[in-house]
């Protein structure tokens, strides 16, 4: 298990071949881009899946939405999967009203559910 953290950075945990990023504070654009870079690099070093836990995130705007989509696209290319877990109802409503359905993104209700997705996959 490794952790990386810096000023305003989101720490990424590695549990076996799953990367977990729990966003707990409000992100500036810069820290969102830093997270994107960290996750992409760590995934390239070998990971089956990425879980981004956002239950602590109060707003997702089109910028953060794009960052999430790009992380998912990058992990897909590296033969992994990205699951965004724990989106709040108010955030989901707002994204939909904006017209941001994030169709390509895999979602789960919680971190546990997201981990179960990968466990189920491993069992196959």
């Amino acid at each position: 298990m490794t952790a990386e953290a810096g000023a305003g950075r989101v720490s990424v945990l590695r549990m076996g071949d799953i990367l977990i990023a729990a966003i707990q504070q409000e992100l500036t654009d810069e820290s969102a881009l830093a997270l994107q870079q960290d996750l992409t690099e760590m995934a390239a070093a070998g990971a089956r899946g990425v879980v981004i836990e956002i239950s602590g995130v109060e707003i997702v705007d089109s910028f953060l939405a794009r960052v999430l989509s790009e992380i998912a696209a990058a992990t897909n290319m590296l033969a992994g999967r990205t699951v965004v877990a724990g989106m709040r109802p108010s955030v989901a409503i707002t994204l939909v009203e904006m017209g941001l359905g994030l169709r390509g993104l895999e979602t789960a209700r919680s971190l546990e559910d997201a981990m179960a997705v990968f466990r189920g996959q491993a069992g196959r």
Binding site: V96, L102, T107, R109
Partner: protein, 284 residues
């Protein structure tokens, strides 16, 4: 407030007829739709009800209040008339039908008045009296209708949380009536919150009770399903009747990858199947 026929003599004549031939009038009225359709348990009850109305009309005429819808005597029959109106409304009669049925009471009365008196005064007064009765009934019908609407509105507001838990992890919201944007917002928020509160993985939007699906409603269904998915839960829309399916197609709305089922029961079965609960269907 005087008019032709209510100069006293006509009114007195009608009062007289209603008092002396009351039983005869009541017998004839009991066979007319207004009473026959309400007092279905027996003719005696219909006759008694008709007689009650006859006596009140006699009093109104006796007091020379032929054209006065607020004549105090009417107060005594108002509750009965209200019951009659409600009963007819429940069995599907429109206000127009009800007032037409009230108007039918006029003819037998006029015939009896003509036979008994011969002069025109009594007939004119009888017409006026029955016209007044009709207005009273219209007033009652309108106030009953308003009360009904108020009651329904209050009920709707009471349902602040319309979401029901169907099973562990399965929540459902039965949508009923016409959806306006304020209501749809409330329902969407309640459903999404229920997913969190109940830790539900499945959400069912049941539109069996929605009479019509237009672009706005379809758009709302799509948005709700998308928001449910963003939260990591699954959404099923149930109760899509054939006409509604057709409208959705005709409107060119793409429900895309949203799961749909014909009935709420089918949707629940689907949800339980996904959750790994097997459903044993009984025979029949």
């Amino acid at each position: 407030m005087t008019s032709v026929g209510s100069d006293g003599s006509g009114a007195a004549t009608v009062a007289q007829v209603l008092e002396t031939r009351g039983e005869q009038v009541a017998q004839q009225w009991a066979d007319l739709p207004l009473f026959r359709n309400v007092y279905t348990t027996g003719r005696d009850a219909a006759v008694a009800a008709a007689h009650r109305l006859v006596r009140v009309l006699a009093e109104v005429a006796r007091h020379g209040r032929l054209d006065d819808t607020s004549a105090p005597d009417f107060e005594r029959v108002r509750p009965h008339l209200a019951q009659t109106v409600t009963a007819r409304t429940r069995s599907g009669a429109t206000h127009q039908q009800i007032t037409a049925e009230v108007a039918e009471l006029k003819r037998p009365l006029l015939e009896i008045v003509a036979r008994e008196t011969g002069g025109a005064d009594g007939a004119v007064a009888a017409v006026e009296l029955m016209g007044t009765l009709r207005v009273v009934v219209v007033e009652i019908a309108l106030s009953e209708g308003a009360e009904l609407i108020d009651r329904q509105r209050a009920q709707l507001l009471e349902i602040s949380n319309p979401v029901i838990k169907l099973w562990d992890g399965v929540v459902a919201v039965p949508l009923i009536g016409t959806l306006d944007s304020a209501r749809t917002q409330v329902v969407m928020e309640a459903l999404l919150q229920a997913i969190v509160d109940q830790n539900a993985g499945m959400a069912i939007l049941d539109i069996t009770g929605v009479p019509m699906v237009d672009t706005v409603v379809a758009q709302y269904l799509l948005k709700t399903a998308m928001a449910v998915r963003l939260m990591g839960a699954e959404c099923v829309i149930s109760g899509i009747r054939p006409q509604i399916a057709q409208t959705i197609v005709q409107l060119g709305i793409d429900l895309g990858d949203i799961t749909t089922r014909a009935t709420l029961a089918d949707a629940l079965k689907w949800a339980l199947g996904k959750a790994g609960v097997s459903v044993v269907v009984g025979e029949g």
